[in-house]
Symmetry: C2
Subunit: 559 residues, 2 copies
């Protein structure tokens, strides 16, 4: 491709709006352009990279026998009502009123694929199979940011597996997991495979492929001793025992005027928050629940939703009034008709302080063995200082970018939407499903976060827009003729070459080449042409090598 015929505009200045390195370099290098909050267009250079990412993924999935299909972006709301997610999912799901029916925009495609497979009459000998697609999705994110790191409109590879039983599902799950590991190797991205929460997808098991990076919005928790790894969303830590425990010989009410937060109370009573019970009131579909957690811990919503089997919310004033609960002073003792869940952080046998269910009073000396706990649960956010639940080792916490996700959906969708197969015994059974996705845009951003220097991107060969950035900086009549010939020679050999034939200075062209980030730079200079040579430099090395012009066609035989 000749630069003079290309639509390609770089920016000299660092774009003000861009905080993350990948966002800056994508804009500066002319790879993408922002349309609106969380919505981008891919310019020619950016699309070349996107297509290569897509092709790497496609190839590795094809090796596993995965077949490609294409499902729509706009879904009838009817199918999302059938699965229950129309009501479960919040405003991230974009809803629109159509002429004939209501629509939603695809966030994921479980409903569509389940309906698709259900319409084919599936029998046991059709199973297993895995269907994949690359398709646009939309999620009306509240805080899109970081350029391609968190988008509203994004492109995903999403594959869906169909099996007779749990064993088949596990085989497909592992097969795709291995394909994903190969895929991230192509991108030179070191990823961690960590336990994850299934979130709105549901299902029994799920793992994420995480790239540790300071621009990440997720947090990976891992134990260096036993190699336990998990997303903070579902990580479990063994909490330290309560510190500086004060003893109370018997239960007593303490006047605590307007002390409604743990930190107010802890300061006022000069007690460690680890000896205080935080009592939270949540609203489920079938009524209220109390959740108790140690004063120094936070509730992990994902875990809590998982435990409750639905997305629950904090109770409102009305709920408090109806149940005679005193906001700020709720405690578990003497509570009737509201089930009580206690977080494992409270498993110590000490006497706690908790709300007295009376305005401006707390109760000290409460033992949880005296409280009617419905269930002990793990619903707290793991935090620095926690020990590994498996081995007691130290837990590490690092920011990370989620690039891929594996889910065992089981029969969640096939049961609700009646996608059955006929088994050998003639019986109709729900199909076992899995689903597996990689975010393409975000992967592009992660590749850049992983490989760059102060001058621009350093693309891996597998996804570079061009293999070679070739420039003529001699700019004599003879040099132009020679350069044109070199360009033709490279094209003949099917080497992807960007030929900077513009009438610009050497300094300009060198800067452009670094910004574009191709693995090789090839330069025709006055010095090199006098020796019938070209200067060859790798993007990530300083060394410049002289190579004979007539050897240029043979240089990249192996690509």
């Amino acid at each position: 491709m000749k630069a003079s015929l290309y639509f390609h505009k770089t920016q000299k200045e660092k774009p003000k709006e861009a905080v993350s390195v990948s966002h800056q370099l994508l804009l500066k290098g002319g790879f993408v352009e922002q349309v609106s909050s969380g919505i981008f267009s891919y310019l020619p250079l950016g699309l070349l990279v996107l297509k290569k990412i897509e092709n790497v993924i496609r190839q590795e999935l094809e090796k596993e026998g995965v077949l490609e299909i294409l499902m729509p972006v706009v879904h009838p709301a009817r199918l999302w009502r059938e699965s229950g997610r129309y009501d479960e999912v919040g405003p991230e799901l974009l809803r629109a009123k159509g002429r004939e029916e209501d629509f939603v925009l695809a966030m994921t495609h479980e409903e569509i694929i389940t309906d698709l497979v259900k319409k084919s009459t599936i029998s046991y000998d059709d199973l297993p199979f895995v269907l994949n697609q690359f398709q646009t999705k939309f999620r009306d994110e509240p805080r899109p940011r970081g350029g391609l790191l968190r988008l509203k409109e994004f492109i995903m590879q999403d594959a869906y597996s169909f099996d007779k039983d749990e064993k088949g599902l596990s085989l497909n799950y592992e097969k795709i997991g291995r394909a994903y590991e190969r895929i991230f190797k192509w991108f030179l991205l070191p990823v961690l495979r960590v336990a994850a929460s299934s979130g709105i997808m549901g299902g029994s098991k799920s793992e994420e492929f995480m790239f540790l990076n300071k621009s990440g919005e997720d947090v990976v928790v891992w134990c260096e001793k036993c190699h336990f790894k998990a997303n903070l969303e579902c990580a479990t830590g063994r909490v330290k025992e309560p510190e500086k425990v004060r003893d109370f010989f018997q239960k007593k009410e303490i006047k605590t005027p307007r002390m409604i937060t743990v930190s107010q109370l802890s300061n006022f009573l000069k007690m460690s928050p680890t000896q205080i019970i935080k009592t939270l009131v949540f609203k489920k579909k079938d009524g209220l629940v109390l959740v108790l957690i140690r004063g120094d811990r936070e509730i992990n919503e994902a875990k809590l939703n998982q435990v409750m089997g639905e997305n629950i919310e904090l109770a409102d004033e009305e709920d408090f009034r109806k149940h005679n609960l005193v906001p700020g002073f709720v405690g578990p003792q003497d509570i009737k008709n509201i089930p009580i869940y206690a977080d494992n952080s409270l498993k110590s046998e000490i006497k706690y302080v908790t709300g007295a269910n009376k305005e401006d009073y707390h109760l000290a000396g409460v033992r949880l063995s005296d409280v009617d706990i419905k269930k002990w649960v793990d619903v707290s956010v793991a935090k620095e200082g926690d020990k590994c639940e498996n081995c007691g080792g130290k837990l590490e916490f690092k920011p990370a970018i989620e690039l891929g996700h594996l889910f065992k959906l089981g029969t969640k969708y096939s049961e609700k939407m009646r996608a059955h197969f006929t088994d050998k015994d003639g019986k109709r059974k729900p199909i076992m499903m899995g689903c597996f996705g990689i975010g393409l845009d975000r992967t592009m951003a992660a590749i850049i976060e992983n490989q760059n220097d102060e001058n621009g991107i350093i693309w891996p060969k597998s996804v570079t827009p061009f293999l070679v950035y070739f420039m003529n900086i001699a700019n004599t009549d003879r040099a132009i003729k020679v350069a044109d010939k070199v360009y033709e020679q490279l094209k003949e050999k099917n080497i992807e070459v960007f030929y900077d034939d513009r009438n610009k200075t050497a300094g300009f062209k060198f800067a452009e080449a670094d910004l574009m980030g191709c693995p090789y730079r090839l330069t025709l200079s006055r010095r090199s042409i006098s020796k019938d040579c070209l200067e060859l430099k790798k993007r990530d090395e300083e060394k410049v090598e002289l190579i004979k012009i007539d050897r240029v066609g043979a240089l990249w035989k192996n690509f």
Copy 2:
């Protein structure tokens, strides 16, 4: 690809819901599956064809130096307000309320591309360039039908050209037009390039690529004598002179009780409708207009909107009341303060009958030379019997499928959205734009409408899912071994082969092969294996040829 590992379900029965041949064969052959009205999924086979169609188009456009980009499916409503189309376009444009802003779903991408180019600082030496994309669009069609022929969600190739001036625009327009002609040749689709209406796109010139077919919803009008060709939406016919004209010596009112349609009136008065003036009242943004047309003609809305420069509607009861107009009996005489447009069909110098502006009365003997006509216009639908305006030849009318569209947009978008370039003289000028699109789904349907027989599709080589349908119908142990080897041999030569290795009857496999429609069928039978041969048959020929098994790898050298 082995059939036993493929996700592929054919239907024996003709699908009830499918009227057009392409719709039937796409469903029967397992190429697509319907999700909802006007929304389909592509199954593995269908996606293979879609991708090939995309690649043919991409290759031919790349030959013209066109660069590929990718713009979003979800657009901020803000940009559509800027161009004015948010209000101009009806309910086909799907609108949705987002968290941060309002959205529309892409019907086309003029707004986005104009904004994209505007953000790059364009100077005269950046021009010309053409940017292309393949992207999903959505149009909430009132009557989706014919399978892939008229969809709500569809995939388009849409290219946009950018030029300094009208001359540059014409060059790009012709370049893309030639590429489109080559593209439809690859698909073996005979297309007509016809004059078209610009519709909601606006601009000065537009042509369509039409495939004549009874399933088409458009009508092409052409003159066999001078080769004039146009979409009925914008075709002009020279009307026959009025017939059996009755004379009226002077104007006179005739009592015509409840005769409010032309046919009622014509029967009642025993007069030809060609001597009756139909007077229609429309509402523009700035007030009412009267449109006069000959009684035997219909208004062409596209032409009328073009003439009026906006999308106008029929006046309602309220408008009639306000202006003292009598529904059913409006006529042009004595009308004050309402501009009158007359269709060219009324250009005869005869005396007409028209509404008397009085309940139950018409007026006879009206000459239009006595009426204050603001403008003579062409707003009638051409019809059978009209003569060619250019040469007087006979006009033909045929149903057709619109596959591609070329538009000269001019500066409509660049002016409204301030997309300027800096010219040599240092002045900022609006960029000249063109846009060019092919509907991919509909093209697939058209290819099928064009090439099929009672057993299935006959794919052109350029888009077939597989080149060869290979089957083993001998099914002895030896035959299975030989067949597996043949399959390996073909794969090694990179021949796209579908290997029907299922344990099914010969009859079943032959039917499946015809339904899939690959250009070649290769069969290993008991008879052929005894001669070390395979049976080769072309999809569109009856002849079966015996070829030596060891020659099979060399058979399709040229693909």
